[in-house]
Symmetry: C2
Subunit: 386 residues, 2 copies
């Protein structure tokens, strides 16, 4: 086991009718900015619950944060927040709204004149951030309990991420009932996203971390077991609650402490979103099977552990077991209506080369847990999924 | 799943040679009190590591905190802390040193004239506490990552507990190497303590919390697998690290969120310590099997889940499966040299009656997850373990 730090001070409020607690936990005497997306929270009643709880607080609204939140949109929020002297941010939505707000929280505290895109390029350190608290409406990214944020820049077709303890939410409210009205596609994407968050932290070189392994496998097991229940009935409270809690636990840092992480599936997947607008979770469903197949020399031992413990695969040669394990993983994603091939989006060889080139241009080479992913390996991983 | 809150802001620093980090993380310009026990930290080198890191800080020492930390001893620390204008507490030790310090942290912030024993009696609310940070030297109680504290009062033979978010450590340093010199008995007690912490949160009425169940079972599995390794070689780093991390995860709140808790084994066990000085973990090893046996009507379903998933028990009638599961649990504790019967301490029927009477005198009746433990049931549970 490697040395590690673990510090996750996010306060989670989980369960039915918990949004009303906002009125007790929001800080007094702050100028609050309520941020949300395209208006689904107005249709499903969440907006009404939030604004009811906000009675008596001083707040402004900012709406229109799009999926894959854009730097451009968040800079509009930035201008309004500055004008209105906002001091506390309240994102209400899924990963995009919360991620965009985390970036805003950091941008609002930069010294005068510093270009905020640098936060995402890694050239500007985050030394301060405006406090934020969330209401989560879509289980998927885990952003409600971590310090990560992914933001896209439309003008340059870039999708970059940053992480800082300082942008961890002060609180996150998770009411599974607000997810009852989600479309099938978003639930399916969320399941795949959470599943692959676990895989990036688990399907790596064994490091004598048996509890972390078992906890990771536990999340996979609950997602697999819960997926058909929640897909067939969005109003199954316990199924939604178990999915929602699993997605949060998948990326709050706890399962990876002392273990080895990868994140190459995300790095490659982000390019597919930036270039072709494919939903985040769906890009991961394409890349992961290729990543497992092409990098079996690095990941083989853990793929076989995963295959045996999760899918019961014990027969055959090592390569046969790995093949079967990839097959079962692909079947699971496809069972949710999530395609696992580039051809489903009419993409082919050209995209594989372009993604690899874009990463190389940004200096993203020799990545993955063993530093083994060269530009050529990126092409192979993607070509495996045409 | 029930509604729940989860908020655990303790910063964990885990791994080899991490005590030196104290010099970076201790707050500047505070008057620190270094608290420890009977001096084992002087023999195993931890004291030297800590005082080296404390160079340049203003601190006083308080030593002599005994196992089952006493109110009387902590009040001596209280006097010194007041005299010396202490503002930050640094307990270095196991559960006793840290628990005693948590009580001290709360006591030091009470309004003038308020009797601090009331904190443990539940009559004095904790509204403020002095900040503390820990160096853990014995994996067992989980106190390094929660707000719980158990303190005994010698003069009245009472052992009581309190809990408050305010006494959660700001940081806890866990270096598995400092545990290499622990005696067998303390390691065995620690394994049993951590195991039964899980059981109190897991072996309860099913509440549709599959992830919490699997995470609890994961800890049990790692403890069972790690126990012989760590017992046969205290210097096996990975085994000690896995035990240490499992013990922390066993009682930081994460496995019980949304689930149903019990804690009756602890409530009864504390009386055995208060009356007869039996080590905490050892009292639990006596009470748990009796609790499982006598309360099979309440716990049966979960006992069978535990028996099947942890011990592979699938054959026989329900009662036979429960019997076998209890037997395996007892065998595990005994394999560590931890007795599971009162007779091992030359105690019998009289003690059973006395414990039940003491609890009843304090108004502790109708407890356990179903409120089913009457004075009579306490007697039955203990008589089962003569």
């Amino acid at each position: 086991m490697n040395n590690f730090n673990f510090h996750n001070p996010v306060s989670i409020i989980f369960g039915k009718n918990t949004i009303a607690q906002l009125s007790d936990i929001l800080p007094q005497n702050e100028k609050i900015m309520l941020l949300y997306g395209g208006g689904s929270i107005k249709r499903n009643g969440v907006y009404d619950q939030v604004t009811k709880a906000l009675k008596g607080f001083d707040y402004v609204e900012f709406s229109g944060i799009e999926p894959n939140p854009s730097y451009e949109t968040m800079m509009e929020a930035y201008e309004i927040a500055k004008q209105e002297n906002v001091t506390f941010l309240l994102p209400v939505g899924g990963g995009s709204v919360i991620d965009g707000t985390k970036f805003l929280a950091a941008a609002l505290c930069l010294p005068e004149g510093v270009e905020s895109w640098g936060i995402l390029q890694g050239t500007v350190p985050v030394e301060k951030a405006m406090p934020l608290g969330c209401v989560l409406t879509l289980p998927a990214t885990g952003t409600e309990m971590n310090g990560n944020s992914v933001v896209s820049r439309k003008s340059t077709c870039e999708k970059l991420s940053f992480g800082s303890l300082l942008v961890m939410p002060k609180f996150s409210i998770l009411d599974p009932e607000v997810c009852f009205s989600l479309p099938d596609k978003q639930i399916a994407n969320g399941i795949v996203d959470a599943f692959i968050h676990v895989m990036e932290q688990y399907l790596t070189f064994p490091n004598n971390t048996p509890l972390q392994d078992l906890w990771a496998e536990s999340i996979l097991r609950v997602l697999i077991d819960t997926a058909p229940k929640v897909m067939s009935d969005h109003t199954n409270y316990d199924a939604m609650a178990n999915f929602m809690w699993s997605a949060t636990m998948a990326l709050n840092g706890i399962i990876s402490r002392g273990a080895i992480e990868d994140w190459s599936t995300h790095i490659i997947g982000h390019e597919l979103t930036a270039l072709h607008g494919i939903d985040h979770g769906r890009t991961l469903a394409i890349v992961l099977p290729g990543n497992m197949n092409i990098r079996r020399a690095v990941k083989g031992k853990k793929i076989m552990q995963y295959g045996e413990r999760i899918w019961g695969i014990t027969q055959g040669s090592d390569n046969e077991k790995i093949d079967k394990t990839i097959e079962k993983t692909v079947e699971f994603f496809e069972s949710l209506g999530v395609p696992t091939r580039l051809s489903a989006y009419n993409l082919g060889k050209e995209t594989c080369l372009e993604v690899a080139q874009r990463l190389a241009n940004r200096g993203v080479v020799n990545f993955g847990e063993a530093g083994d992913i060269t530009q050529e390996v990126v092409v192979k991983i993607l070509e495996d999924r045409i």
